[in-house]
Amino acid sequence: MNSKAANNVATGVIYALVVAVVGILVFLLGYILITGVPHVSFHFLTSAAESFKSGGGIRDQLFNSLYLLVLTLLISFPIALGSGIYLSEYAPNNWFTNIIRTAIEVLSSLPSVVVGLFGYLLFVIKFNLGFSILAGAIALTFFNLPLLTRSIEESLEDVPDLQREAGLSLGLSRWKTITGIVFPAALPGILTGIILSAGRVFGEAAALIYTAGQSAPMVSYSNWNPFSPASFLNPMRPAETLAVHIWKVNTEGVTPDALQISSGASAVLIVVILLFNLGARFLGNWVYKRMTAAK
């Protein structure tokens, strides 16, 4: 085979591989949406789950997922921001920084089930929190921290050094330069990072099975006291999320309409994550346009 023919064959193979990958994605999304969307109704979204008979909904699971997401972001964002600022602004080039960077790499490559088990060991058992939203949110924070820290660090590093020098030359402290100049300039990137990590957190289940638990007790949505055990805001109650629910109905096999519930719930999960992805893109662009002169 001469080199021209080889070139054509290789190009053809690459095109075929690309088409295959796109095909896989189209199949995945198509399958989830086509089988799932018909099961998503107002009733499905607003009624409680049933264990042993069909017709159950996902109201509590959906709320738990969102609540857990909010708590996780509330805990993880400040820590990730501080760490990101340290790594991009203060970190000296020495052994300590090297160790920290390695630690973050290790944390980000740990299997989520190991992170979940650590949360189970430390919070559910040692600190006696029991299966609770709080334990789940902390476990998800551990799982979320490395990626969020890295994305914040990268966004901060993307800000040109000229901006920092301008701030310092005006006599501002480094901290003031960071909070007043660098952070606002990096905000679009940081927001995108947060929203993308929100998508990951929303779909995570392995870290939650043994921290937030696998049961969704009855809660009252009119009880706004977070300390009352029946309140939907109580962070100490066990909470099964949407992703855990999909896993549970499929593996336990006691719910007669497991297939319908899981396809409906998968569709909801995918749609929410798609919204997060689109939102990240849109918001990032919008904030960037608002804050800079870029057209």
């Binding site: 075929a16 896989i24 399958y31 600022i85 901290w175 995570e204 289940a205 994550i273 798609l274 992805n277």
Partner: protein, 319 residues
Amino acid sequence: MEGIKPEANDKLKMDGIKKELRNPSKATHQDYFGKTISYICIAFVGLLVLSILYFITTRGLATFTQDHVSLWAFLSGSNWNPGMLDSHGNPEIGALPMIVTSFSVTVLAALVATPFAIGVALFMTEISPRRGTKFLQPVIELLVGIPSVVYGFIGLSVIVPLIRHAFGGTGFGILAGTIVLFVMVLPTITSLSIDSIRSVPMYYRSASLALGATRWQTIHKVVLRAATPGILTAIIFGMARAFGEALAVQMVIGNATLMPHGLLTPSSTLTSQLTTGIGNTTMGTLPNNALWSLALILLLMSLVFNIIVRIIGKRGSLK
């Protein structure tokens, strides 16, 4: 001011200036404040990693220190039945079936995914950068975004019945696990390969093309050679993800703690055994400790993957 002599007034003024010059300014205080906050955050992250390593390690070693199971029996035994004793009176905790299954699905998934990943990466970097980035970047991001339980659910409701029809048997097993993991590691390997191919300097390509090489010759003799360390790193990261993936695999692997006899028999990975077992055992008992030892293997493998990546990075950068 009349009562104070002019010299005294000057002295007061001088004292003020002296104080201002000698003591830290407001800006310095601000900086200390900010530095402290960021140090606390980073120390927290470091402490967290240390405590994860410490807790999982001490619990994972309990099987060997408290229950006096030999490490060799644990790693090479092929019967997993932690509640039972075998004919010699030793507990039956042989983790070999899980270890073999975990490694099989990981390696197979990476082997299947790599050609696809490199194909997509080459398309996006060498063949059609503009269209590639516009259409394929979102494809990759969406594949990353799909949660693992959804992959598991599709595996359970599409792949497993398909395998059952095509090859007989239950459909659960390493093959189903491989197919699901292949799709899950594909985006990881692809996006890291893209980064590494992009970082090959443009003049390498220009030089090769100027010598009369075709695009494919340039790609496989120059670009891919130069990007090899990066692509290897990408594959290792993909394998790390596949090795640690729990729920998607657990849903399609069959969860029988038996030595796999081929791609189609139900078996169990380390992660799937952990997710099914932890809830059914009591803290501190041997069956529970044995599960923590499985978690320890997962942790150690994740560290090994990290070390391999570092070694590749170092050797790659020397050239």
